[in-house]
């Protein structure tokens, strides 16, 4: 990533300064885009892309693309996932809404009945017809997309397993819509009614339910605003050592001097300023962990509530699973954010220890390029498939539930006609 290289160079080429000054200067870590984000951009536009790593403060990811967007993006983002998850069901509805109503309207239904064609064969035939047409469109498209996505440069590795998994998820989702379409077509008297009903199902599933559940989640679990968060932090931080204020660490001074058997801080074998800064840093970290865990728990309550919408919409579980497989879901974002925080602690500790061990209390010390060059490295591994699946158990369960449910729905067609 070009920008990350530039930012790293900023760090390596900074002037000589006190290591703690360097901790304030900090470094930015940019969230890498996964290759499969080309298929599903997920929350990428809505989550920050840059994390400012600095002493004392844990920052939320900055630069959300959505902040600069025009209102157009809220109508939907033209990505493969949008076409495959939102628009593809419309195509299924279009090819399948009249499979039964057409026969009835044209009067060919009676003809078929008079030939004693068993209903289940007819049903399987119709089902196979719609399914075949759907997958004849989907499979070549999916293969072509796979070739394009795997050959584009500038992104991480192409994971065949994840891509294949996306294909399986979409296929299952299409089966649900195929089944619903056939069921509605069977129970409708006219093609028009079947179409309206199916469209209503589609609108409710893809547009209304997600928004309704989001609104409910925001109503029941509102997120705190900037000032409330600042207050939460102040409360959690109160009374602790402030690395910048010597008077807040008098107790600590005494303890350390006793431990080392010295009378003055200057006699310590290390720079007490670094020690104090690190002690203060630990308070900062503790306070931030407290604040972030509270916010995250509100967010996961919101997400859990939105997931409940899956009972009413097969769109939600597949949307969430698709993002998860493409590493563009909220979980991956938080996972990266946690990795950055772990790194931040390591980074600040490194600089405070450098101040501690490269100088004595009271000395003026300026660290140079060798110190900057030896900073801890940051690396981030995307979660394993196993972990993704584990985190997505709810959604997988819901998706399979919908598949089973929709096939059961198809069975009712047989039972009903056998009665007739």
């Amino acid at each position: 990533m070009q920008a990350q290289v530039g930012i790293d160079e900023n760090w390596f080429n900074q002037r000589d300064k006190n290591p703690h000054g360097a901790a304030h200067f900090g470094i930015y870590l940019l969230k890498p885009e996964s290759r499969l984000s080309l298929v599903d951009r997920g929350v990428n536009r809505y989550a920050g892309t840059a994390f400012f790593v600095e002493g004392h403060v844990r920052n939320e990811a900055q630069f959300r693309k959505i902040e600069d967007e025009t209102g157009l993006v809220r109508f939907g983002e033209l990505t493969p996932a949008y076409i495959l998850i939102t628009l593809m069901p419309l195509f299924i509805i279009l090819i399948g809404f009249n499979v039964f109503t057409k026969e009835r309207e044209a009067g060919t239904w009676r003809m078929l009945q008079s030939h004693d064609v068993p209903l289940h064969k007819l049903l399987i035939g119709k089902w196979a017809g719609v399914t075949f047409t759907t997958f004849m469109l989907f499979i070549p498209l999916f293969i072509l997309m796979g070739i394009i996505v795997s050959s584009v440069s500038g992104f991480g590795d192409f994971s065949f397993a994840h891509y294949l998994m996306l294909g399986v998820l979409y296929s299952l989702y299409y089966l649900i819509f195929i089944n619903i379409t056939l069921i509605v077509s069977w129970f409708s008297k006219q093609s028009g009614t079947a179409f309206i009903t199916l469209l209503a199902v589609w609108i409710v599933a893809t547009l209304v339910i997600p928004k309704l559940f989001v609104s409910t989640a925001q109503y029941l679990n509102p997120l705190p605003d900037t000032n409330t968060v600042a207050e939460m932090y102040r409360e959690a931080r109160a009374g602790g050592i402030d690395g910048h204020i010597p008077s807040s660490a008098r107790e600590l001074e005494k303890q350390v001097m006793e431990e080392y058997g010295v009378d003055t801080l200057e006699d310590l074998p290390f720079n007490f300023a670094g020690y104090r800064l690190q002690a203060g840093e630990e308070y900062d970290t503790k306070a931030y962990n407290h604040v972030f865990s509270q916010i995250r728990s509100t967010i996961s309550d919101q997400d859990a509530l939105i997931r409940k919408g899956s009972v009413f919409s097969p769109f939600l579980p597949v949307r969430n699973l698709s993002m998860a497989m493409a590493f563009t879901d909220v979980n991956t974002h938080w996972d990266f954010s946690e990795a950055v925080e772990r790194y931040r602690q390591e980074f600040v500790l490194y600089l405070n220890e450098d101040l501690m061990y490269s100088s004595r209390t009271g000395e003026t010390y300026l660290a140079g390029s060798d110190v900057w060059a030896a900073k801890p490295g940051f690396s981030y591994e995307l979660p394993e498939m196993e972990d993704v699946i584990k985190a997505q158990t709810d959604n997988i369960f819901m998706l399979f539930g919908w598949v089973v449910f929709s096939f059961l729905g198809l069975l009712t067609i047989r039972q009903k006609t056998e009665e007739v």
């Binding site: 920008a3 530039g6 930012i7 160079e9 900023n10 900074q14 002037r15 200067f25 930015y28 940019l30 929350v43 809505y46 920050g48 892309t49 840059a50 900055q62 959300r64 959505i66 902040e67 600069d68 025009t70 209102g71 157009l72 809220r74 109508f75 939907g76 983002e77 033209l78 939102t86 628009l87 419309l90 279009l94 028009g192 179409f195 309206i196 469209l199 609108i203 547009l207 209304v208 997600p210 928004k211 309704l212 989001v214 609104s215 989640a217 925001q218 109503y219 509102p222 997120l223 705190p224 605003d225 900037t226 000032n227 967010i299 919101q302 997400d303 939105i306 879901d329 909220v330 974002h333």
Partner: protein, 479 residues
């Protein structure tokens, strides 16, 4: 004749159970959406009041400390928070930027779920980083449920369900000849049917909306203009969809053809065009991510910070000799002068950084503004986008409103900073008069050019285009 037709229409409609159920459902959705937004708005207002109250208390405490110090009753070890020292204004009286939507905030969420409405104004904030709310990306992705969504996305479907078969139905039921035998032209018959349905839907919609506003406690009399405009847009939008429906009916195909093609038109205007417009905007007016400006900004910061302190100040005072003269007349003693010296450097170096990064920031903002302007222009191609934007404008939550809010915040930040900086450079202490004359943040949604005329025009043009096509087809079909 007309009254008979209306009577017949009314009976037809009240007999259609499906239509009634969907209408009741929709009214429910409108109520839910407006009441939901109104709840959020009330919570927000409560927060605003709380913040303003806290600021008053902060100011009073500051004032009390100020008087104590002046009377010699109190001393501060840490001069940064000593109220007579100008820097304490920055430390203790952190101003808050407060966004205010209009009285119609409940009709559209606009961008209020993305941007923070209340945030502290830091004297030296990062110029490319907007204050963010703590956000949940997944709720933002799916978006919230508001009246704008119901009106823009769902109401056209009701219009379609209401009118897709006005002509085809007659033909399919075999009643067309009966209609033709009446002393009214077929066109007049269709137009009156459409008009009746439009009037019913429009009146019901506005009624439900007004009702939900009354329940939510929105003053109707204070928002007459807004409500009138909203009614106007709604009427134009409904008429557009009724027009499309009439047009499709004129093609003379079956009801099932009509409904399929009308829904196709809906998908096209509401989903396909906006996403295509979005792609067009992003391709033609590309704006690099904000993070790309980071490298240059950080280089500029390092550069400014690495210069010799005295040199920086000397150079600055060469351009601003007035500060030297002022500082010479200062009443600050040696110890204070030392403190001032550090902060003088701090302010000057920060200003240098701001000046160094301003071309980068301005370039970014210009590109963004050009992109947004272009988006605004081509959005006129979709009545759905036009209406959604217009509703956000009416609610005071549009992109333009937030742009104006951020600009106001930036202007205020500069004013606030220079007030403190100038006192610092003059080595002046804070006086009682200064405290009375501190800059105040102000923002009002009425200062924003809402583009109401443009939206009305765009919607009218869409309607005119449909009317033109209707006339064209009428001749061709010969009704």
């Amino acid at each position: 004749m007309l009254s008979k037709m209306f009577h017949l229409e009314w009976r037809n409609m009240t007999n259609n159970r499906w239509l009634l159920v969907s209408f009741v459902l929709l009214s429910g959705l409108i109520l839910v959406s407006t009441l939901n937004r109104s709840y959020h708005h009330e919570m927000y207002q409560a927060k605003v009041d709380e913040v303003r109250q806290a600021q008053i208390v902060e100011f009073q405490n500051f004032l009390a400390d100020y008087d104590s110090v002046k009377a010699g009753l109190k001393e501060f070890d840490n001069q940064r928070i000593n109220p007579v020292f100008p820097f304490s204004l920055e430390m203790r009286l952190i101003p808050q930027a407060v966004f205010e939507p209009t009285g119609l905030a409940l009709i559209a969420i606009g961008k209020s779920d993305i941007h923070a409405g209340i945030f502290p104004v830091r004297t030296f904030s990062d110029p490319i980083n907007k204050a963010s709310v703590f956000y949940n990306p997944s709720t933002d992705l799916f978006g919230s449920f508001d009246f704008a969504f119901v009106l823009v996305f769902l109401i056209p479907l009701i219009v379609i369900a209401f009118s897709y078969n006005i002509l085809s139905e007659e033909r399919e039921n075999g009643t067309l000849r009966m209609v033709m035998s009446q002393p009214v032209s077929l066109m007049a018959f269709l137009v009156s049917r459409i008009s009746f349905r439009f009037l019913i839907l429009f009146a019901a919609l506005i009624l439900v909306l007004l009702l939900s506003m009354v329940i939510a406690g929105v003053s109707l009399s204070e928002n007459v203009t807004g409500i009138t405009l909203l009614s106007g847009y709604t009427a134009l939008y409904l008429l557009f969809w009724f027009g499309v429906s009439l047009l499709v009916n004129l093609l003379g195909k079956s009801s099932s053809f009509n409904i399929t093609s009308l829904l196709g038109v809906w998908v096209f205007f509401v989903l396909v065009i906006p996403t295509l417009l979005h792609v067009t905007v992003e391709t033609l007016y590309e704006v690099p991510p904000r993070s790309e400006a980071l490298v240059e900004i950080r280089n500029a910061e390092e550069e400014a910070m690495s210069q010799d302190r005295d040199e920086i100040l000397d150079r600055y005072f060469m351009d601003h000799p007035e500060f030297i003269e002022a500082a010479e007349g200062s009443s600050a003693d040696e110890q204070w002068k030392e403190t001032y010296e550090f902060y003088k450097w701090l302010y000057v170096v920060r200003q240098n950084i701001a000046e160094a990064v301003s071309p980068i920031v301005n370039d970014y903002c210009d590109r963004l503004a050009r992109q947004q302007e272009f988006a605004g222009t081509i959005s006129a191609l979709s009545p759905a986008v036009v209406l959604k934007d217009a509703m956000s404008s009416l609610a005071g939550t549009s992109t333009d409103h937030y742009n104006h809010f951020h600009r106001s915040t930036e202007d205020f930040r500069l004013e606030w900073m220079s007030t403190i900086r100038d006192k610092m450079l003059r080595e002046e202490f804070v006086s009682r008069d200064d405290l009375d004359a501190l800059p105040r943040f102000s923002y009002s949604p009425t200062d924003v050019n809402n583009g109401f005329g443009r939206a009305g025009m765009a919607l009218s043009l869409h309607l005119l285009a449909v009317c033109g096509l209707i006339l064209l087809f009428r001749k061709r079909v010969g009704v």
